[in-house]
């Protein structure tokens, strides 16, 4: 695997992902974002200690994500009976009502994709932090990009708030551990997304490969 541009004409250059303008890469900055000079798209972002910070955030997110799937999200009580709802239960009740496609959509966007994103990120970050370039780094990096639009945890939180408004006068509505856990996952994932740039993974891998031992 080569971590630098194979074409010598490309060294020191960067192309905008949205308008394809070829531009000289600005000298490394300690902190901040670099935008395309022509269309304003974000080219990259640098946050100090991005690997360590995002590893810490994603480890916490992994624990909370397990809790969010084990415990109910909400429960509704009516005349002494209580129904508690988990993520899996949501998909299951849709499937039982004959809406298999909608059930799959819910399961994929709330359970499978968020889990895969957390796993892919941990598979990349843990070995890098321990000073080793993981073999699965290319795969993890492609997964992270491909799955990003399909993780909808934050949209679910809005959906849960709307449901609360609709169910409040139906019965006794309670938010359970699952709801607070998934809210935590949303916040941690958003923080990690705004800290870690794909470039950090590759820069770290390149530095390790060159045997510097450190990548900063």
């Amino acid at each position: 695997v080569s971590y630098v541009a194979s074409d010598s004409r490309a060294s020191g250059l960067i192309a905008c992902p949205e308008c394809d303008l070829l531009q000289r890469e600005p000298p490394p900055i300690a902190k901040g974002a670099v935008d395309c000079v022509r269309c304003g798209a974000l080219l990259y972002r640098t946050v100090p200690h991005a690997i360590e910070l995002s590893l810490a955030l994603m480890s916490a997110a992994a624990i909370l994500f397990v809790m969010a799937n084990v415990f109910p999200v909400m429960s509704l009580g009516l005349q002494g009976r209580y129904i508690a709802e988990t993520f899996y239960g949501m998909a299951q009740s849709l499937a039982e009502a004959g809406m298999l496609s909608v059930a799959l959509l819910v399961a994929v966007t709330l359970i499978l994709v968020p889990a895969a994103r957390i796993l892919a990120l941990l598979c990349a970050l843990v070995p890098l932090r321990l000073g080793r370039v993981p073999k699965a780094l290319p795969l993890a990096s492609r997964l992270l990009t491909a799955l990003r639009p399909w993780s909808m945890v934050e949209v679910f939180i809005l959906g849960a708030l709307v449901s609360m408004g609709r169910l409040n006068d139906v019965g006794d509505l309670d938010l359970d551990v699952g709801f607070w856990s998934i809210t935590g996952v949303m916040l941690l994932q958003a923080a990690a997304d705004s800290i870690l740039d794909q470039r950090d993974l590759w820069r770290c891998a390149a530095a390790l490969e060159q045997g510097k031992g450190t990548w900063r």
Binding site: V1, S2, A5, S6, D7, R9, A10, L13, I14, A15, P17, E18, C19, D20, L21, L22, R38, C39, A41, V73, S75, L76, L78, Q79, R81, I83, G89, M90, A91, S93, L94, A97, G98, M99, S101, V102, L105, V106, L137, P138, S141, R142, T145, P149, M152, V155, F156, L158, G159, A160, V162, S163, G165, R166, L167, D169, V170, Q198, R199, W202
Partner: protein, 213 residues
């Protein structure tokens, strides 16, 4: 003179950004293994196909009931479409919820379809008008599209929680399938559109290997 990577004979990896020569080995990114293309393959035709399918399904999504409620404290069973559900909420005084549903389920998908249609037409008619503003428009619809899923999650929560026969039950209606399909199709559509085509046109030169439909 602005020079695009494609015209300089360089391919930018769409996953990791690494630039390779146009004759890169096996046309794959040497760093992350992503297939390299100057522009997203068949971007225009693919996006048209996806948004046309979404336009068609937008009709049943809005005409068929998405939720069927029985004895919801308001008498007999009733089937609600997205619109009638929003109207009921408004009449019950829950207008903030009604506004959220109307924006997320009606305005966002429709705006997304219209904007993508407009952007496709400007590329096909080689419009040179302000690609910077059109790129910003694309960025906005790409960002807001996901929020249409709100209604699917509200439905899923209600169907799971309100199962108290004979007092109150909620079950999903066939409109939910059409609506879910609209959301998925528009998400794929905005991913398959390539904003760089707008800049190619404004630079007055087609990029080899990019289809302009």
């Amino acid at each position: 003179m602005a020079l695009s990577a494609a015209r300089a004979g360089l391919l930018a990896c769409r996953n990791c950004g690494l630039l390779s020569g146009a004759h890169a080995r096996a046309r794959r990114c040497a760093r992350c293994g992503t297939a390299l293309h100057a522009r997203k393959p068949n971007s225009i035709m693919r996006t048209w196909a996806l948004i046309l399918a979404a336009y068609v399904l937008f009709i049943p999504a809005n005409l068929l009931p998405v939720l069927e409620t029985s004895a919801f404290g308001y008498g007999g069973p009733q089937a609600d479409t997205i619109m009638s559900g929003a109207v009921h909420l408004w009449l019950q005084g829950a207008w903030p919820l009604s506004v959220v549903i109307l924006i997320a389920s009606v305005a966002v998908p429709l705006a997304k379809l219209l904007v993508l249609t407009y952007l496709l037409l400007t590329v096909q008619h080689r419009a040179r008008w302000n690609p910077s503003r059109r790129t910003r428009l694309y960025r906005i619809v790409d960002f807001i599209g996901r929020w249409s899923m709100v209604d699917i999650y509200v439905g899923a929560l209600l169907v799971g929680l309100v199962q108290f026969p004979p007092l109150a039950t909620v079950s999903p209606g066939p409109g939910a399938i059409a609506f879910g399909a609209v959301v998925v199709l528009t998400l794929f559509a905005s991913q398959s559109f390539d904003p760089r085509l707008m800049w190619d046109v404004s630079e007055g030169r087609a990029v080899q290997g990019a289809s302009h439909g």
